[in-house]
């Protein structure tokens, strides 16, 4: 937990789970962590794993917008005073180069 804001981590975990369920099967899993962004503002960083099929189906920006809109709607980071950022990876690339923070 970041010191400068008070977040309800259980509430966030539950809402991320809801978003992940709503975005299945295109979204395989969503991980997140708390840190300050480049200007020092408290933030939540989402790591979203997509299926290869979902990523290549259309424009990645459309998928990204759908994911971020759904997650922001469920989690509502603004209510905690958090900025939110998203990174996207696909299953095949993660299989080649696994990273614990994305597992």
């Amino acid at each position: 937990m970041i010191a400068s804001v008070r977040v309800n981590e259980a509430q966030i975990a539950a809402s991320v789970q809801r978003a992940q369920a709503a975005l299945a099967p295109d979204v395989v899993r969503i991980r997140y962590s708390f840190a300050d962004d480049w200007t020092g503002d408290p933030s939540i960083f989402f790591r979203v794993v997509l299926t290869d099929e979902a990523f290549h189906r259309g424009r990645p920006s459309e998928m990204a917008e759908r994911v971020s809109t759904t997650v922001r709607s469920e989690v509502d980071p603004d209510q905690f005073g958090l900025h939110s950022y998203f990174n996207y990876r696909i299953v095949s690339e993660l299989a080649e180069r696994p990273e614990p923070s994305w597992a």
Binding site: D37, W38, T39, S43, L50, F55, R59, P60, S61, E62, M63, A64, E65, S68, D78, H83, Y85, F86, N87, Y88, R89, I90, E93, L94, R97, E99
Partner: protein, 166 residues
């Protein structure tokens, strides 16, 4: 084709430079370049409003990353508040939706650019870079739809910072 478009094209080129196993240098530069494409697009659009063409390059140097972030956060919030009122479909909602896309892409790409340029511990994947580039490309398209709208020009002015109150 303008400088910002060249940067965006270069970002995609870098992200796809190696056929297999992209180099981290290529992906990081791709992410950073995508941000700078949007950064320069917005600044060039803002400075076009300055009547004296020979001073536009000088004016462009008054824009700061941090102030542009603050302005984009404010713009994103205003757009969200409007969208959350569930307005009827129409030109106003379309404009706000496009403006929202531009502000969000600016915020996202700016943070990613900072990580790409300064955080050597973070490893990038190609899809990650391509997702961001695609987001910036969408922002370019949205901008071209609304570039003559008053709300878009208000956003451009706000990128310079807060006006004095009183």
């Amino acid at each position: 084709m303008a400088y910002a478009d060249h940067l965006l094209e270069q970002a995609r080129h870098l992200a796809n430079r190696e056929r297999r196993r992209p180099r981290q240098a290529s992906l990081r530069r791709a992410v950073s370049t995508a941000y700078y494409a949007l950064f320069h697009l917005l600044i060039s659009e803002a400075t076009l409003n300055w009547k004296r063409a020979d001073q536009r390059a000088l004016l462009a140097r008054f824009f700061e990353h941090g102030k542009m972030k603050t302005a984009s956060e404010r713009q994103r919030g205003e757009c969200n508040r409007f969208i959350n009122t569930t307005p009827s479909p129409g030109p106003e909602l379309d404009c706000v939706t496009h403006l929202h896309r531009v502000a969000v892409a600016f915020l996202d790409s700016q943070q990613q650019r900072h990580t790409a340029d300064y955080d050597n511990a973070t490893q990038w994947d190609r899809a990650e870079a391509l997702a961001l580039i695609s987001q910036v490309e969408s922002a370019f398209e949205s901008w071209r739809v609304i570039r003559d709208e008053p709300a878009a020009h208000a956003y451009l002015i706000s990128l310079l910072g807060n006006p004095k109150v009183g």
